[in-house]
């Protein structure tokens, strides 16, 4: 009888361990829950030792209609498809059309844009394609 009880407790110990493990797994698998439409742009940032840039659509569309960037400034509807570089921004192209200290704060605030977790690939966060087809993003801290 004693023998069986020990075996039983061993079972439960194993079960408890598995439970704890699964909870931790669940926590480490925690999906990113950033704002819908946030774009991570990492064409060149990582390679240059900077954090990827994060573009929040929600913040900008409160202030400007889609037309301003996508018709007037020539931003293509494609994450990472515009080959934006700091040189172009300082030249007044792309982000630099507004982030020039006149319409919006200027490029000396590096960390406000370069605020993404290192190692994240270029993507539109939370897109339907991403949800249904290919999860591109795994947390960088889970190597």
């Amino acid at each position: 009888m004693r023998n069986v009880t020990t075996r039983l407790t061993t079972w439960w110990r194993a079960a408890a361990l598995a439970l704890v493990a699964s909870v931790f797994w669940g926590v480490s698998m925690q999906p990113a829950q950033a704002e819908y439409g946030d774009v991570i742009i990492n064409n060149y940032s990582d390679a240059a030792g900077m954090r990827p840039a994060v573009f929040p659509h929600w913040y900008h569309r409160i202030r400007f209609r889609c037309k301003v960037c996508h018709a007037d400034l020539g931003f293509k509807f494609k994450a990472g498809g515009n080959k934006i570089t700091m040189a172009k921004i300082i030249d007044g192209k792309f982000c630099g059309a507004c982030h020039n200290g006149e319409i919006a704060w200027s490029v000396e605030n590096c960390g406000l844009c370069h605020s993404g977790k290192p190692g994240m690939p270029t993507q539109i966060h939370g897109s339907t394609v991403q949800r249904l087809v290919a999860p591109t993003y795994k947390p960088a801290d889970k190597k």
């Binding site: 950033a34 569309r61 996508h70 509807f77 339907t128 394609v129």
Partner: protein
């Protein structure tokens, strides 16, 4: 006696093996499953197998602040200077998908007034109120494409002619293309409201005519034994 206990032990082990991976899957967020199911009084000490998230609900904070949203680096000092979306969305009409706010309504209610020109805040958008109805062969409600909300936000050249030929019915559109990011999916599912089971009716908004019948499938039309 011994045998029964062993059987129970094996059964319990099996149940644990089956339920644990599932509960692990459901527990994608650090919320106790009791909180998710909302059915277990807190004072009860029920085993975890019984508070298993049976609806596989994903409890998540849809408008997390930048430093806890999983994509911004909280170790970056400037991340903490960014505005949390919840602060901006205060008092806006909500939706159960996307940014969880109704941008069209927020604009029409005057809660926001985004510029249509980069520098001149007085430029008015070129709004065109033209609905395009697209009858759908499947038994879902027909699609109404409203030019009005689109031209409030966008310019004609954003869609015509690269995404859509400006002629009624000249464009082949289907859900597969949209879900893969083509046609309406160039915007919907990325920045404009996404395709979820809760948003179908936004596009599929026109009920079928009263005399509408689903088309018979060819296999049954051709069946000589009907």
């Amino acid at each position: 006696m011994n045998k029964t206990i062993r059987k129970i032990a094996v059964a319990a082990g099996f149940a644990a093996a089956v339920v644990l991976p599932l509960s692990g899957m459901a527990a994608e967020v650090p919320v106790s499953s009791a909180e998710v199911t909302g059915s277990t009084p807190a004072q009860l000490k029920v085993s975890n197998a019984n508070v298993f998230n049976r609806l596989l609900k994903k409890e998540k904070d849809p408008n997390a602040a930048p430093w806890e949203d999983g994509i911004h680096d909280p170790e970056n000092e400037a991340t903490h200077a960014l505005q949390p979306p919840k602060v901006a969305y205060e008092g806006w009409p909500r939706t159960p998908f996307g940014n969880h706010v109704d941008w069209v309504k927020a604009l029409n209610d005057g809660l926001i007034n985004p510029r249509y020109d980069r520098v001149d805040p007085t430029v008015e958008p070129l709004v065109m109120d033209l609905d395009i109805v697209r009858p759908v062969r499947a038994s879902v409600p027909d699609v109404v494409f409203p030019h009005k909300p689109h031209t409030q936000w966008l310019h004609c050249s954003n869609c015509h002619p690269k995404i859509f030929i400006p002629q009624k019915g000249a464009n082949q559109i289907n859900m597969s293309a949209i879900l893969l990011g083509k046609k309406c999916g160039v915007c919907h599912g990325k920045v404009a409201f996404p395709i979820t089971t809760k948003s179908c009716k936004k596009c599929h908004s026109k009920p079928k005519p009263a005399d509408w019948k689903p088309p018979l499938s060819e296999a049954s039309v051709k069946n000589p034994w009907r």
